[in-house]
């Protein structure tokens, strides 16, 4: 887990990035409002201004998709490695920018203000604030909020943390990470938009997922083919036998997932199991079949 805490200079660069994205999309009137709010929040003389600006953002700047170009996303990743703003809207970008504007160099004060804002946030605000986690200073102080987001019964809030977000990979403990991955499958969401899935595979997660797969199988329910991605390096004989049978009678996506898992497994019997599906085995080997394709 790398520490990617943002200092004042990095926060200023992140603010300039978001402001640039918004400036080319907002009307002069909306941009004027945005700049006025940033100045008020930076000034720090009106402590309630941050919450008010975050609340008013959609009605002032609208809710259009941000729809960044590839070059804009690249510029984002230069300032914040692995930043992925796909699917962000303009009001979300504005809300994240306001939070950044409240940082005055003191991490504890920033984290305290963030606590207060999130405690009274409505659903749209929560999604925006959690999507902004990778850009905020003092990331280690915000872990409890990310973990709480993962506990949410609201799928879009859960996904604001889990999907397209480098924060969990960098900050979550194994226990927190594993809960997030298992819950992703449990609520019928997708694994592939999670960053760092392969790098953070671990034996405990594999055990939980194998148990979960067995439970689903016993109940006669389908198993997401994505599940095997986190299990592949830890496959034992029983799972290899299960995958071998899926390879014979599964759906196209299930067979693909089984082939990918077996091809990544170091277990000696995996290679033999793959011989039942030579075409899929070859596709997995040469990259024509990927985990994203079977999701």
């Amino acid at each position: 887990m790398g520490s990617t805490g943002m200092d004042m200079t990095q926060v200023e660069r992140a603010k300039a990035l978001l402001h640039g994205w918004l400036a080319s999309r907002l009307s002069p009137e909306a941009l004027g409002w945005l700049d006025q709010q940033i100045a008020l929040i930076e000034g720090g003389e009106r402590p309630l201004q941050l919450g008010i600006a975050i609340g008013l953002a959609p009605r002032k700047v609208g809710k259009d998709d941000l729809a960044l170009s590839f070059a804009e996303q690249e510029a984002g990743r230069e300032i914040r490695p692995d930043l992925d703003a796909t699917g962000w809207s303009v009001d979300q970008a504005a809300r994240i920018l306001f939070v950044l504007a409240s940082f005055r160099g003191e991490e504890a004060a920033f984290a305290g203000a963030f606590d207060r804002i999130l405690a009274a946030a409505e659903i749209g605000e929560q999604i925006a604030l959690l999507r902004g986690l990778p850009l905020f200073p003092a990331p280690a102080r915000l872990v409890s909020h990310a973990a709480e987001g993962v506990r949410s019964a609201m799928q879009p809030i859960f996904e604001a943390v889990a999907h397209r977000n480098p924060y969990p990979r960098e900050q979550f403990s194994d226990a927190q990470w594993n809960q997030m991955v298992v819950k992703t499958l449990f609520i019928g969401s997708r694994l592939w938009p999670i960053q760092g899935l392969d790098a953070r595979r671990n034996a405990d997660l594999a055990r939980m997922l194998i148990d979960y797969a067995a439970e689903r199988r016993a109940a006669g329910r389908t198993i997401s083919p994505e599940l095997w991605r986190c299990v592949a390096p830890f496959l034992e004989g029983a799972e290899i036998a299960m995958l071998a049978s899926i390879l014979c009678d599964g759906s196209e996506a299930e067979r693909g997932g089984a082939a990918l898992a077996l091809s990544e497994s170091p277990h000696p019997s995996a290679k033999a199991a793959l011989e039942a599906a030579p075409d899929l085995a070859a596709a997995a080997r040469d990259g024509r079949l990927t985990w994203t394709m079977i999701a």
Binding site: P58, A120, E122, M154, E159
Partner: protein, 298 residues
Amino acid sequence: MYIDPHAHMISRTTNDYEAMASAGVVAVIEPAFWIGQARTNVGSYKDYLSHILGFERFRAGQFGVRHYCCIGLNSKEANNEALAEGVMEILPSFATKEGVVAIGEIGYDEQTALEDKYFRLQLDLARDLDLPVMIHTPHRDKKRGASRSMDVILEHKVDPSRVVIDHVNEETIGEVKDRGFWAAFSIYPHSKMTAERMVSLVKTYGPERLIVDSACDWGVSDPLSVPKTAQLMADQGLTAEAIRLVTYANALAVYGKSGQMSEDDWLSPPPIDQRTLYQGNTVLRGGQAPRVVTKDAG
């Protein structure tokens, strides 16, 4: 399409949401109120407000129903001064949140001095924030309470065309309409207003500025009151336009003045909302005729 502009969905089940959606209810307004027993501190009030703006909105969206809120300190809990002071401090930040269409439901319960104080403060807040107002009229001493509410609203320079007086009945409708306010009627199985009486009120007074709601909550109440009343109105010969006004368009007109509620929200939702917060109404999506389940029609 119907709007139920007064529904405490936090107390209702998923069956209710399914029934409302399939009966053609496209949007509900959840006014902040008490929850059957008094809260004892501002923390639980804050969590209640973020609950109706958070999980409840999400829940509604899963059933294809758009969910809006009114934010306010209700008259019953205004009698706890320590609580009321705390709530007044947090109200401005909640009232400016997305999807808040009015300050409400506020007004009088027993008509105490404390109720009067916080009613007035919230009228000023609504005026300052340029938000419509939903008024709860008292169950006891209703006629005088309603009349007094309207006096105080005008005294505080809030435009009556931005104020809905709710729980109106035959005794109060005349004054509410004459003074330029919107009149809302909570159609209850056993109290307040019935669908039959509602039909004759629309016939007598015309559909202009009249609004039908269910005020469904944790008590005996019917979340299908709006579509059922619309059905009865059609059976008894009211025009389609009159029915549209009292069960849909009038509520949209007054609460839409907040800038937070528009037909586009359910007819052409923004892509970002469709992906995250709103599953789309099956009635609109599939084009089926709205269906009213009438097993407990009363």
